[in-house]
């Protein structure tokens, strides 16, 4: 065997941070998938587009607040307003989708809402790309202050700290809502059994709407964070993160909230650190373009040995 670590500690630290950043975004989006699946057993294919709309709303606010020239305390204000606008826009989109494309199909054959979800996804992404932007991208203003935290080989930029911090805060908030509030109890009861919840006097429609809204808020914030970090946004931007977040949700065990979070980070780390670790094996060369192969292979491997994902229940209740 040759030397194991050909590359420096800084390299691994970099990739670790990259994995955690992507993982944060995947996790935030995955929460929306998993919660909707929990209550409706529906793969909400349009969730990536809910994320996209949020990102554009945040972009609008940041540009309106002065774009690249925003400075000082205005930056903080702009960021907060952008996130609020993004959450609101995402929520509006998600609720509209639920009302128009899912609710009429609630008792329809299982695959009908899946197809209408795909329809919404294609419609929204192309409406933004072909209808409004004619194929061009928008770029988030780079207003976030520079600066970085250095811990030995580890360098984390202020933006990365902000990104990971806000996503953790959002997830914490969501956990609180689900576990500690009456709304959350309603959602959990509906996820357990829609019929029983309804018998117990829980307003099922309301619980479903709240679920969509909560998932959309997470996606909206993720949209702003994504834009701040990767800069380029476009109508089709939701597709790849959407598929990845869905993968993360399944990895964690779909329907499970903590599973979505763990799945998100796990997938983010696999794509970066995991792939680079494989590259250390002599004879293996998996440059960047192979990362999706690594990610999906991992999914297959995990599901072979844990058919219901990492946190999934032993056997799906609804077979």
């Amino acid at each position: 065997m040759t030397v194991i670590f050909l590359t420096s500690a800084e390299f691994w630290a970099d990739q670790l941070v990259n994995g955690l950043t992507t993982g944060s975004i995947y996790a935030l989006i995955a929460l929306g998938y998993t919660m909707v699946y929990g209550v409706l057993q529906l793969i909400n294919f349009a969730h990536g587009e809910v994320f996209m709309i949020g990102s554009f709303a945040g972009y609008g606010v940041l540009v309106a607040m002065g774009g690249d020239d925003t400075s000082g305390a205005m930056i903080a204000l702009a960021l907060v307003l952008a996130m609020i606008a993004a959450s609101a826009a995402s929520m509006g989109t998600a609720l509209a989708i639920e009302r128009i494309a899912y609710r009429p199909l609630r008792n329809a054959p299982r695959l009908a809402p899946l197809i209408s979800a795909i329809g919404v996804s294609v419609f929204l992404s192309h409406l933004v790309d072909d209808g409004f932007l004619t194929g061009r991208s928008k770029y988030y203003p780079s207003i976030f202050p520079d600066g970085a935290l250095e811990l030995g080989p580890l360098t984390i930029s202020a933006l990365q700290i902000f990104l990971m911090g806000s996503s953790l805060a959002m997830m914490g908030g969501l956990w609180w809502v689900i576990q500690r509030t009456k709304l959350g109890r309603g959602i959990r009861a509906v996820a357990e059994s829609r019929d029983n919840a309804s018998l117990m006097g829980i307003d099922v429609n309301r619980a479903i709407v709240v679920t969509f809204a909560l998932g959309a808020i997470m996606a909206g914030v993720a949209g702003v964070l994504y834009g701040l970090f990767y800069s380029a946004i476009r109508g089709s931007m939701g597709f790849i993160p959407g598929v990845k977040a869905f993968t993360a949700a399944v990895l964690g065990g779909i329907g499970s909230v903590q599973g979505a979070v763990i799945g998100g980070y796990f997938l983010g780390l696999t794509e970066t650190v995991g792939r680079e670790l494989l590259n250390e094996i002599p004879g293996v060369s998996l440059p960047n373009q192979w990362k999706d192969v690594v990610a999906f292979s991992l999914l297959v491997l995990v599901l072979i040995f844990r058919p219901n994902g990492i946190f999934g229940q032993k056997e799906t209740k609804r077979a």
Binding site: A101, N107, I115, V122, F123, F296, P307, R318, A319
Partner: protein, 378 residues
């Protein structure tokens, strides 16, 4: 909403639908020009793929979002062994040898994927198959030594008959029409056989099916392999038709198109698959035709009327809505917005007819029952 059970109206048997389709296809082939025949080819190709996926999704109830993997397999088998330019194989194999090779390769890949994932249920299967479709595409993109990557493989061996080769749009259309009829026949027979009943039992309730002594994994694997080989057959005919095989042709949108047309048509029956294909593949193609724009141009009075309305609206509401463009631009606009139309179409059809355009009879009864349909697809 679900008024489609009309006991009094006798329905045509399925073979009659297939016959009508065949006749319409042949009439189109005889009377229309190449651009239209090209569209008919695509519609028939996707209908064939749809019949393949229908075995998996409609009959056996397995949700497959990676059907493109098998389509790609068929196309690449024909390309790698049938084109002089392919880097890993010297010489050219006759197309009629390659065609069955492609079909077998499809079945093989289908079983390879099926073995580990078939024990999974419902939606887990969906994401794993989706991932597998992507893996195949990325492999094709990056394994330049076999596939030439994004440069693709071209100048493929063409099918020959007698001293002639199949190399025009029209000849390929006849070829895909024959394939579609063959696939229709085989899948219809399978559905009505013992195998078909086993699939149906699995689809309705896997545990009960197993309890009744049905080897569920074996039958599921069979459905997967049959669907996959039909996908590969489609790929093997598509490849020499476009005479170019590259990863960009095998993106997820192909899987989505095929799945959508199966479900829009009404799962589990061939008539629906053909109607779904005509709608989802034909309509977006049609939007790009000059003829469509010409027909629409006849409705210019409608635009003028709407513009008057817009003017009025602007005047009373301080809004500033733009006017509709002149009809010469409609063709370009329609082509540009075809995906928006496609997406809206999917939602509309599903909301208006949740069990598809032509629901199969037995399923129709299921869906109209008072009880909500069983949540699980597996």
């Amino acid at each position: 909403m679900l008024e489609s059970v009309r006991p009094g109206v006798p329905r045509l048997p399925e073979w009659a639908h297939a016959l009508i389709f065949l006749i319409v296809g042949l009439l189109g082939w005889y009377f229309l020009d190449d651009t239209w025949v090209r569209m008919l080819f695509l519609v028939t190709l996707y209908a064939t793929l749809g019949m393949g996926l229908n075995v998996v999704v409609g009959l056996a109830g397995l949700l497959d979002l990676g059907f493109v993997a098998f389509f790609a397999t068929g196309a690449y088998v024909v390309a790698i062994w049938g084109a002089p330019i392919s880097p890993s194989v010297d010489g050219v194999v006759n197309y009629w040898v390659l065609l069955p090779m492609a079909v077998f390769a499809g079945a093989g890949i289908g079983m390879l994927l099926g073995l580990p994932v078939l024990p999974l249920r419902g939606d887990y299967l969906a994401i794993v198959t989706l991932g597998f479709g992507e893996i195949i595409r990325i492999l094709a993109l990056n394994m330049d030594d076999y596939t030439r990557g994004s440069s693709g493989i071209f100048a493929l061996a063409k099918p020959d008959y007698g001293a002639e080769t199949v190399d025009s749009v029209r000849e390929f259309f006849i070829m895909i029409l024959i394939a579609a009829m063959a696939v229709w026949f085989v899948t219809a027979r399978l559905r009505d056989s013992k195998v078909g009943r086993a699939w149906e039992a699995i689809r309705e309730d896997e545990d009960v099916a197993q309890g009744m002594g049905i080897n569920t994994v074996r039958y599921k694997l069979m459905a997967f392999a049959i669907g996959a080989s039909i996908g590969a057959l489609g790929g093997a005919i598509y490849a020499p038709f476009v005479d170019f095989v590259a990863p960009a042709q095998f993106s997820l949108i192909v899987s989505i198109n095929v799945l959508a047309l199966v479900i829009i048509g009404g799962m589990g029956n061939t008539t629906g698959v053909i109607a779904g294909s005509a709608m989802l593949i034909g309509v977006p193609e049609l939007l790009q035709f000059q003829e469509t724009a010409d027909v629409l141009a006849k409705f210019e009075w409608l635009r003028d009327g709407l513009n008057v309305f817009i003017d009025g609206f602007n005047a009373v509401s301080f809004a500033d809505l733009g006017k509709l463009p002149p009809s010469e631009e409609w063709g370009d606009k329609l082509a540009l917005y075809r995906f928006i139309v496609f997406g809206a179409l999917l939602v509309m059809v599903m909301v208006l007819r949740p069990s598809g355009l032509f629901p199969s009879r037995r399923r129709e009864l299921e869906f109209t029952a008072e009880e909500p349909a069983p949540a699980g697809s597996a």
